[in-house]
Structure formats: structure tokens, C-alpha cells
Symmetry: C2
Subunit: 165 residues, 2 copies
């Protein structure tokens, strides 16, 4: 069963995992944006949707450079994280609490991606693929910025709650 | 359906999610340690198992302080991440490649936990629970250190591969 017998194959395998992850995320983000009460949160989620589409294009470029097919794998990790996020959204009361629940779920997604992009960027370095390193680094920085943005919005939602109390 | 209608309830909900996550992790770590080829990786995973047991005790303490039951939730997020890790382990050839696959999976787990502990620590601060903040901060630092340790081991596995090539 051990069809992954080289770092090159592990690299492609992990890129396919990310390709599936990003595609799942593009389906989840519009639902999250629709459920947001804070305009800033909704705008941030919509912005991240466009960013995610750009990240998929980068992955497409990478697969073309490698002469590999991006498809054939389902990212079960992000599937679990998104299913849980969707559950958190449904369980939380509309308004500030639901916004906080979505921010929490969104930060789990961003952290999963930070780990995964950090790994493939390191593999690309080791495999001597500087152009691919550059593309993956760009996405990694976007994920980190998206995570920071969610922290900022959470602080504002908290202030809003205190003001309302 | 919106039974989570306050930050206090969201806080307890997220702590229950983490309680389930940590318990799932204690079941996965011995299998990972057994499958490791690098002695350093095996030792690190065994060390993290003991650390995780301590983290569960901290959560037990927190639930006692809150007068809440730790059970009643399954963490679907970590379930997905662990299922995927187990698949990666099975697909990868024994030796350095499998070690790298496990490190990659382990870093996804650590990042999930960093996001989740970061969230509950912030909630505890906002809810004015400094003793709980302290306990959660300790665990958060352990997760960050475990992630760094995995990066270090990955660099050594890479050196080992280059030496063998």
C-alpha cells in the first residue's frame, strides 16, 4: 500500500490535499459570509473567498510546472474542520456569539492551512524548486494575514458585545 | 437549535471540543510512535503523549472550576485531521518518508490545537478568569514547543535522507 515512497511523491500528495482543501473552503466561505452579522466579518470572508480562488490558481500553476494532475484526493482534515465549523455556526445564536463561533472556526481553518503550506514550502525548498517556493510562500503569508484579521475582528465583536451589555 | 446563546456557553462548548480532541490524540500518539523509524521522533511522540495527559488533567481542573461536565462533544475537526494522518502514515513507505509524513500530520494537529487553545484563552481573559487563562496558556506554550520540535526533527530526517542518498 505504500505508494508514497519518495519525498517528491509525498510533496505531490500534500499539494493534492491542499488543492482539495482550498476547493472545499471556497464552498464553505459564502455560507459563512451569509451568516455573519458584523459587516466587517462578512467583508473579510468575501475578501478571503477571492483570495482563496487566487490560491487555487497558484496551485494549478504548480501542478502544471510539475506535470502532475491536481485531482484525486479528498482532504479529510479540512473536511472535519469545516463540518465542525458548520455545526458551531448552527448551534450558536445569531449575532455576536455566532460571529465569534465563526471566527473561531475560521481560525482553525487558517491554522490547518498554515501547517500544510509551511510543510509543502519546506519540501519545495529541499527539492530545489525556488519558483514553487515563492508561490507557496505568497499563499502562506495570505493565510497568516487572514488569521490576524480574524483576531482583530473578534476584538471588535467583543467591544460591540460589551457596549450592548 | 441555537443553544449556544452566550460567550460563557461558547467557551464551555469549545473546552468540551478540546477535551474530546486531546482524548482522541492520546489514542493516536502510541500508534504514531510505534510507526516511527527515527528514535528522536519516537521519543518526541512518547513525550508528547505524557504532555497530552497533563493537558487533559488541566482541562479536568478547568471543568471543575466551572462546575461543568467535560463530556458530551466529539471534536470532528481533530477526528478529520487524525484520520487523514493515519491515511498518510499507511500510504507512506516505512523509513524517512513515513517519518516526514507523520511529522506533517503531527504539525497539522499542533496547529489545530494552537488555534483552539488561543481562542479559549482569549475567551477566558474576556470572561475574567485569570486562573483558567494561566492553565490554558501553559498548554498553548506546550503545543507551540511541540510544533517547533517536529520542525527540528524534520530537518534531521532530511539530513539523514541526504546522507543516505
Amino acid at each position: 500500500m505504500s505508494n508514497v515512497d519518495s519525498m517528491q511523491k509525498l510533496f505531490v500528495n500534500e499539494l493534492r490535499d491542499l488543492y482539495s482543501a482550498e476547493n472545499q473552503i471556497t464552498k464553505a466561505l459564502p455560507k459563512m459570509a451569509k451568516a455573519a452579522s458584523s459587516t466587517e466579518l462578512r467583508t473579510a470572508l468575501e475578501h478571503h473567498l477571492r483570495e482563496t480562488e487566487g490560491q487555487i490558481q497558484r496551485l494549478d500553476q504548480i501542478f502544471e510546472m510539475l506535470g502532475e494532475n491536481p485531482k484525486g484526493k479528498t482532504c479529510d482534515g479540512i473536511k472535519g474542520v469545516l463540518d465542525e465549523g458548520s455545526q458551531m455556526l448552527n448551534d450558536a445564536k445569531e449575532g455576536d456569539v455566532r460571529d465569534e463561533a465563526m471566527i473561531s472556526a475560521g481560525q482553525r481553518v487558517e491554522h490547518y492551512e498554515m501547517a500544510a503550506y509551511g510543510t509543502v514550502r519546506t519540501y519545495a525548498e529541499r527539492l530545489g524548486k525556488p519558483r514553487i517556493v515563492e508561490l507557496l510562500q505568497k499563499t502562506l503569508e495570505e493565510e497568516k494575514a487572514a488569521d490576524k484579521k480574524l483576531t482583530e475582528i473578534s476584538n471588535k465583536v467583543h467591544q460591540h458585545m460589551q457596549h450592548a451589555a
